[in-house]
Chain length 362, copies 2
């Protein structure tokens, strides 16, 4: 891989759907699932063969920066970009592009998530390499995940004309479609020409910067001011001054949906999982003969099927008897017992705890 | 109530069906359920109006005696009879009768369980008073519980001819029937002339002693030897010498089924509950609008119905989401999650833990 390829890992998210393991003080990317490494560490490990630490950047919030630095001490401290407050992905991606443009105007950057899992790592490396080749030619590349069910929780990308001459499969993007209703999602899958928008992107920094100037000129101007103050250290004061007035916007809506030369690289068997709920764990970990998955749990199951048992920092014996399709998540101060069909509703629990001001559990 | 009426509370049992709250070191009678008092303390409290501490006796095993004495310090230490090892209810009831006969040959005694709950206490007092009157006349009285479902876990008593002249309802016993199969139990309920055998008895000590001598002469002889050694303190050495060779037998089979002048006092609305499983808790405690019962639990239920949440010495937040007919029992070192229809199978868990030699959880 060439030396002007940089990775930006977005690690500022919250994530309430893995409660009670994920908390405000320990968002999803800091969660360990059935191993010793956090999702963030796994995200860094996964790309280490392509991106040495000095070309790996982390975009995060002040609250999380110190802990993330500790988790990946190999990444230089100055590669952690601090977002003063959440203003959507457009602003953080723009900040990353502005910072990198100062450092290397010819750079190609990939934007990745800190809280996703990817099973097929060598295929992922291949995709990032192909994406680099497209980006070098001026394309804004998005990785499209082949849908496995009519998800309503993801945006979709419609493939247009194929991109010839590359020796691998890629397409012009016909259009981006934000989270659809289920009927529409079903139609997309039947048509077979829509992929999930993974939120993973690759582009040349000058190209994305050009699009920021054209499509989000106000934001570009602010980022310009931050960028021109950039030296050996991050211009915290300028960022602090500019950030509060930034309008919250996603990179998808702000840039990708309206930009020129947007390409999609379809990823069919990436084993991509955004760990969006406890239910999604069943796709990531192999179940035993009864269809159960136990993560770090001292579990004894009698007449227990298709259930998930998670212990986080507890070593209690967990006995399940005569249950199926159940999720049990045991933590030192909170226990969740939830049916699988209700896994998406865990965020309602968090919202209710917020309402009740039970802050110790948030 | 007269002054020759004595209560013997049987408090030597184990009880695996309330695991993980009940353990070897904390059998069912030492369990607290939704309050500060143990089942044993509640059993003592319940009869305090009829039986002052000096006429309340406790039959237990060596392991439990100290703890039980601590729980009810009002009962004189010499009123705790220690059974060296379990030999069935016939021997402990016989020991109690032998001990009491030495003290007061005209005494009437009631045999009660330490691990049952009774909701209607004033009615219970009334029944014990009626039973006393029958016992004084030489009847061996058993309290019969009106069946509410075709239970296969209890013995049954068939009512015979009514006992006239008492101003309250009582019957000669036609026969005792040990735990029936479900079809038979159903038939008993249809016939309407069978009650559950509660294991609660009332008799004059000379009368029961007479039956022991007639029906279990070998046991009576051994108990005689223990009784004749009885002085101010319990004759531990004699008990230790005689006890190992005693044949294990129940009072029901050994005496009641074959004795003369046996009467049953039917108890229709006693609110009697032997707390035989977590399921039985639903009969004891009032459920909320969703049909849930939470005992000592910091519980937050969303879309949760007909479920039982028990916390024993833990204060963790327990969240249930999208579940029904579920039992969750949280203790410091073990968690049980169990469907209500599997509640009777909790003892299988205990057996499995025994097999696996996981003694710390027993």
């Amino acid at each position: 891989m060439t030396e002007n390829y940089y990775a930006f890992i977005m690690a500022g998210g919250g994530g309430t759907r893995l409660w009670p393991v994920s908390r405000q003080s320990r968002p999803k990317q800091m969660v360990r699932l059935g191993g010793n490494r956090t999702l963030f560490q796994l995200a860094v490990d996964r790309i280490a063969a392509l991106f040495p630490p000095e070309r790996t950047f982390v975009v995060t919030v002040a609250d999380q920066a110190e802990e993330l630095k500790k988790q990946c001490p190999g990444i230089p401290a100055e590669n952690f970009l601090i977002e003063p407050m959440p203003r959507g992905t457009a602003s953080v991606v723009g900040l990353a592009a502005a910072a990198l443009y100062r450092r290397d105007p010819q750079a190609v950057m990939t934007v990745l998530a800190a809280d996703h899992l990817i099973a097929n790592v060598s295929y992922f490396h291949e995709l990032l390499t192909h994406a680099y080749l497209l980006a070098r030619d001026g394309y804004l590349v998005t990785l499209g995940i082949r849908p496995t069910f009519p998800a309503t929780g993801y945006g979709y990308i419609q493939r247009g004309e194929p991109l010839a001459d590359y020796g691998f499969t890629a397409f012009h993007v016909s259009r981006f479609k934000e989270k659809p209703d289920e009927a529409t999602a079903r139609k997309f899958i039947e048509r077979g020409d829509h992929d999930w928008n993974s939120g993973m992107f690759v582009w040349r920094v000058d190209r994305i910067w050009e699009e920021f100037q054209k499509l989000m000129p106000e934001l570009a101007e602010k980022l310009e001011r931050i960028g021109s103050a950039w030296g050996d250290s991050q211009p915290y004061e300028v960022i602090q001054a500019e950030w509060p007035s930034i309008k919250t916007e996603t990179i998808d809506y702000g840039i990708m949906e309206r930009a020129e030369r947007v390409a999609v690289l379809p990823a069919a068997d990436l084993g991509w999982n955004d760990v969006g709920s406890w239910e999604s764990i069943f796709e990531v970990f192999e179940a035993d003969e009864q269809g159960n998955v136990a993560l770090d749990a001292n579990h004894l199951g009698l007449d227990t099927t298709h259930s998930l048992i998670v212990a986080d920092d507890t070593d209690r014996l967990i006995v399940t008897l005569g249950v199926s399709d159940l999720i049990v998540v045991d933590t030192p101060d909170a226990l969740l017992v939830c049916s699988r069909h209700s896994a998406q509703r865990v965020r309602e629990v968090v919202n209710l705890l917020k309402q009740k001001k039970e802050t110790q559990y948030l």
